[in-house]
């Protein structure tokens, strides 16, 4: 029987095209990009071999420090935010709301997930606008007696706006994801715990939380892989400003390659980013294996 499922011709027909496209669009460019890290230049002026100059520069470039700092700060806060708020919402959906309200709120909170990021970023630019006229947030602040804030004009407040916007935009997805995980917990376990006298906090602490750890972990991995690659929402909302204070690695790479026409250094930044993504995922995977044997 093995022979039927081992039919080489069928395997080639089924897998061949996908593998070919994957190789040409992903694998080859990755190695090609790796090759770029050892050169300096661009198509107009030509390329010349640069040895490990790009890597040396990576360690001395203050902009890399800033971009890396922003990326890590953003990824950490965002991942914690997405998972924590998402989890809170999912608990709310499943244990507090009734069926119809739960479905309605789920639908509503999920909606921004599917809206194009640029549209949301433009909307948030206007919501947090401070000049020439105040946007709705500043109007609110002024009306309660606080002064208007130049939200997108200062590094720390711009960061806050980015976090608020991206949470608003993405938390619905994590809520639904975790909601699915919570549905998975068998009813009888909860019921028997309840009969044993577990209520509210202790029910949550001793039964629900441990049982939802695997899905929380999955959500965390999913989240951090997205947040480390943050690009479009920041590009559209702040353009990396003010100054370079909200420029993530992804955007710095893009600028280096296309605005400063340095393909070699741009590829080196991309490589750094790729390595970060792999390391973080591996790290979380390994700790997961140990703790939960997922």
């Amino acid at each position: 029987m093995k022979s039927v499922l081992g039919d080489r011709r069928a395997i080639a027909i089924l897998l061949g095209p996908a593998l070919a496209v994957y190789t040409l669009v992903m694998v080859v460019p990755v190695f090609w990009s790796f090759g770029y890290t050892f050169v300096k230049g661009n198509p107009l002026e030509g390329f010349r071999f640069a040895g490990i100059d790009n890597f040396v520069r990576l360690f001395s470039d203050p902009d890399i420090g800033a971009a890396l700092g922003f990326t890590i700060k953003y990824a950490l806060i965002m991942t914690i935010g997405q998972v924590a708020v998402g989890y809170a919402l999912s608990l709310f959906y499943i244990f507090v709301l009734r069926r119809f309200t739960s479905a309605l709120i789920r639908t509503l909170v999920f909606f921004p997930v599917v809206v194009p990021t640029v549209a949301i970023a433009l909307l948030y630019q206007k919501i947090f606008q401070s000049a020439p006229r105040d946007g709705i947030v500043n109007e609110l602040l002024v009306n309660v007696g606080l002064g208007s804030v130049d939200w997108l004009g200062q590094s720390d407040t711009a960061f806050i706006v980015i976090i608020i916007m991206d949470l608003w935009r993405s938390v619905g997805f994590y809520a639904v994801l975790l909601f699915a995980g919570l549905l998975d917990i068998p009813d009888d376990i909860i019921e028997s715990a309840r009969i044993d006298g577990a209520r509210h906090w202790s029910l949550f602490r001793h039964i629900i939380l441990p049982l939802s750890l695997p899905i929380l972990l999955a959500a965390t991995i999913f989240s951090i892989n997205g947040t480390i690659k943050v690009f479009d929402s920041v590009l559209a909302l702040t353009g990396g400003g003010p100054g370079n204070s909200t420029t993530p690695l992804t955007m710095y790479m893009w600028r280096t390659a296309f605005a400063f026409s340095d393909y070699g250094y741009g590829s080196t930044i991309a490589l750094l980013l790729t390595i970060m993504c792999f390391l973080v995922t591996l790290f979380i995977f390994r700790s997961a294996r140990r703790d939960n044997t997922v």
Binding site: P43, L44, A131, P132, D150, G153, G243
Partner: protein, 441 residues
């Protein structure tokens, strides 16, 4: 017959070059210092690649294609494509690498990039080409000299715009508070203090764009250190971290600290800043003369054309510069590729050179470096005529702050200057940041 064969040969060698390009990939991307061909090969279409933000050239060209240049358009139809300005230099580079430059394109957002194109032999030498077409006298000599100053010493771009920069001011507000046109920086500060006391924004500028503020910085530098101050930096004879330059940055930072600029300036966009002035909320507005389009438009200008004055950036006492030296530029200029500069493209070039100046002035209120007859000038609004006279009588011009910077320094400058005027970055830090970028090359 000979021409046809030459052209065929030319095409074949182009095809050969293209094959080599795809075969060698990386190596062939390097554009060697080839001589510009004596005559290019006409493309199928007059493809014009321009920055999306340019609202000035495309409509005039489209008018021409159905009007004065309809014959040329029949032979070689015009096709306009646009991409964002931020991507333009990168895109042009890639096209150059593939020998795929469109017949006509905008380039040189960073002048150094424009000069590279000329050095690589990719651009038409207009000194020669327009002379052959018999229309070289249709270009203002001042515009040619500005182009040569910016783009590697050659007349390699066409002056679809020709701008000088200075301060637009609200005459009615000046009169109301008895203020004369400030001749020096100190007078400007005194005037600003008066306006601020009376609840009027002294000077409006867009911090979201950044460059309108760095223009104030270069204005100060040219007045205090002289018209060659930034050339010295480019040549490595001086550093931005030198005392005089940091002092200039300090002066601009103080302007912000004293509250003489808009509140929340870092978020104020271009139109927002312009409207503060055109709605009478702000007394002064530093800008290039391309702003005349809006100033002369009664729908946008609520304070009235007659109430808008134009003055040069004030002098700095004891400085080496002179108030008569206006910053001048040709906008983001457009040019023609040498490889595609065939007879049909040349016919278009001739038609554009003969007609663009007047059409752009009359329809768009934009001053170009193409000559316009005196009768047409006389019909223009007073302020436009006034600016034209200043252009005609100016003998020495200066550039803008980032003109001689590399791309990274240019971007860091306009992105960080809002931090300078809002006190989030010190003058030393700001100049150090830019000098580091310049040193990195």
């Amino acid at each position: 017959m000979t021409t046809a064969r030459q052209r065929r040969l030319g095409r074949r060698s182009l095809a050969l070059a293209a094959t080599a390009t795809s075969a060698l990939l990386l190596a062939a991307c390097a554009a060697g210092p080839t001589e510009p061909p004596a005559e290019g090969t006409d493309p199928e279409k007059l493809e014009y690649l321009v920055n999306v933000e340019n609202g000035n050239i495309p409509p005039v060209l489209e008018d021409m294609s159905t009007g004065v240049c309809s014959a040329e358009n029949e032979d070689l139809p015009l096709e306009i494509n646009s991409i964002p300005q931020a991507d333009l230099d990168g895109q042009i580079q890639l096209l150059v690498g593939q020998d795929a430059l469109p017949a006509m394109f905008a380039a040189g957002g960073t002048p150094a990039e424009g000069a590279k194109l000329w050095n690589a032999g990719k651009l038409v030498d207009f000194d020669e080409a327009l002379d052959e077409l018999g229309v070289l006298d249709q270009i203002e000599p001042a515009a040619i000299s500005t182009i040569k100053q910016l783009y590697g010493g050659a007349f390699s771009f066409l002056p679809f715009q020709y701008n000088i920069e200075g301060i637009f001011y609200n005459k009615a507000l000046f009169a109301e508070y008895g203020i004369e046109e400030p001749q020096t920086w100190d007078e400007l500060l005194a005037a600003s203090a008066t306006f601020k006391e009376n609840g009027i924004i002294p000077l409006t500028a867009s911090g979201e764009q950044g460059w309108p503020i760095t223009r104030l910085l270069s204005g100060y530098i040219f007045r205090s250190l002289g018209p060659d101050a930034l050339q010295k930096v480019a040549d490595g004879e001086a550093k931005l971290t030198d005392e005089g330059y940091v002092e200039a940055a300090q002066a601009i930072a103080d302007l912000g600290a004293s509250g003489y600029l808009n509140d929340n300036i870092a978020s104020l966009d271009y139109d927002g800043a312009q409207n503060e002035f055109l709605n009478g909320n702000a007394a002064m507005f530093y800008m290039g003369t391309w702003a005349l389009t809006a100033v002369n438009n009664p729908e946008a200008n609520k304070i009235g054309v007659e109430n808008v004055g134009f003055m040069p950036f004030p002098g700095v006492e004891g400085g080496a510069g002179d108030i008569s030296q206006y910053p001048s530029n040709v906008g983001l200029p457009s040019t023609f590729g040498s490889a595609t500069f065939g007879p049909k493209v040349q016919a278009w070039t001739k038609c554009i050179t003969e007609n663009f100046g007047e059409m752009s002035l009359v329809d768009q209120n934009t001053i170009s470096g193409f000559k316009v007859s005196d009768e047409v000038w006389a019909e223009q609004p007073q302020l436009t005529q006034d600016v034209h006279e200043r252009i005609a009588s100016s003998t020495q011009s200066v550039l803008w702050f980032e003109a001689l910077f590399n791309a990274k320094a240019g971007q860091d400058s306009s992105k960080n200057v809002p931090l300078l005027v809002t006190g989030q970055m010190s003058p030393e830090e700001f100049m150090q940041l830019l000098q580091t970028d310049l040193d990195a090359g």
